[in-house]
Symmetry: C2
Subunit: 194 residues, 2 copies
Amino acid sequence: MNKRSGIESKKKIIDAAMAVFSTKGYAKANIREIAKAAGISVGGVYLYFRNKEELYKSLINSKMHYIGSRLEITAGSAESATEALSDFFKLHLENALKHKEFILLHIREHGFAFGVNEKRQFFRKQRTLIENIIQRGMRSGEFRKCNADHMAKMIMGSLRGIILSMALDDDVHITPKMLNEFVFNGLLTAGKRD
Amino acid sequence: MNKRSGIESKKKIIDAAMAVFSTKGYAKANIREIAKAAGISVGGVYLYFRNKEELYKSLINSKMHYIGSRLEITAGSAESATEALSDFFKLHLENALKHKEFILLHIREHGFAFGVNEKRQFFRKQRTLIENIIQRGMRSGEFRKCNADHMAKMIMGSLRGIILSMALDDDVHITPKMLNEFVFNGLLTAGKRD
DNA sequence: GGTTCACATGAACAAGCGTTCAGGTATAGA
DNA sequence: TCTATACCTGAACGCTTGTTCATGTGAACC
């Protein structure tokens, strides 16, 4: 037997579940493996979570709240639109590195019955943040005139894809600085722009 | 009974499998459902495919070859780097719209034992194409000086993410024109660029 | 009508899974 | 030492799934 405090055990299960779910996906992950990775028996898992689905949900929920709140806190305090967007990128990239496993799980299970709407809402919210920054930048003359809605969709999409690439492919590593340069300046030489 | 030609049946199974795999993922998809969607019996599926894995592999393989070859054909013939990159985006976005289901499946099963390397190679190849275009553009003075490797990684990542966003979220629709404007011009007003 | 062949069926089997539960064990206080 | 409490165990059950196979059916030719 392996006696620990309940809190400790629950934590071990959550960590193990995150690892197994994110490498195997929800359907292929099985409780026996999660239990083994957590150093507890099969029955032990059920002391802390009613069933597999609840274990999964509790994982997603807590992590998404955590990430979401961290992203909000640092949002409003920038002096210019350029700085605000820069901060936004920095935060997202840092988060992505720290929660790589979760990102993978997230992408993979987008079709899972639970959380689809929560996820969509999360991304919509992020997109709105970007859109506001863009509008602010256009008003202040920092950013050129463009369709803020379209631009926000593209920037959010780009950010998602870059984060995904980093999570999937170890030889891709994008820093906030690189991303700034790309998004702010574009590819063309100054003379050739519209 | 439901008598058809073998070719017709096989095609029906492939279509059904694509639909089911891409909405449910590999593990959750089951043969009974695929068979039903194809209008054939469970045993019937096994007349045409040795097992579930082979059915999946044959799907992925044929589709990836098809898409890959289509992307290559139209690559080399552009007159400028700007035009080349523009064509590249157009092709990818068109493809993505046409093979939405496949894209979803693709993302979802990135960790599946089969095809991981094929997929990685596919994306590396696309990235190399972009990198070549960027270098060409820098030599000709169309594009500003930058790190072509980093830039290619970001652009490929962005493209992936934008395609993903379109596949996941129906209210996101990015046209080649919009993407061009974003990638070529960036966000800043002309005077503020580096 | 008889024969052959390609195509189709779905009950049956075995393996794996989520979940339960009757019981076991360490610790702390009486 | 006894009891209560919190934590843990893994065999067993029932269900779902991939796969097989003995059998059935229609069409084409003799």
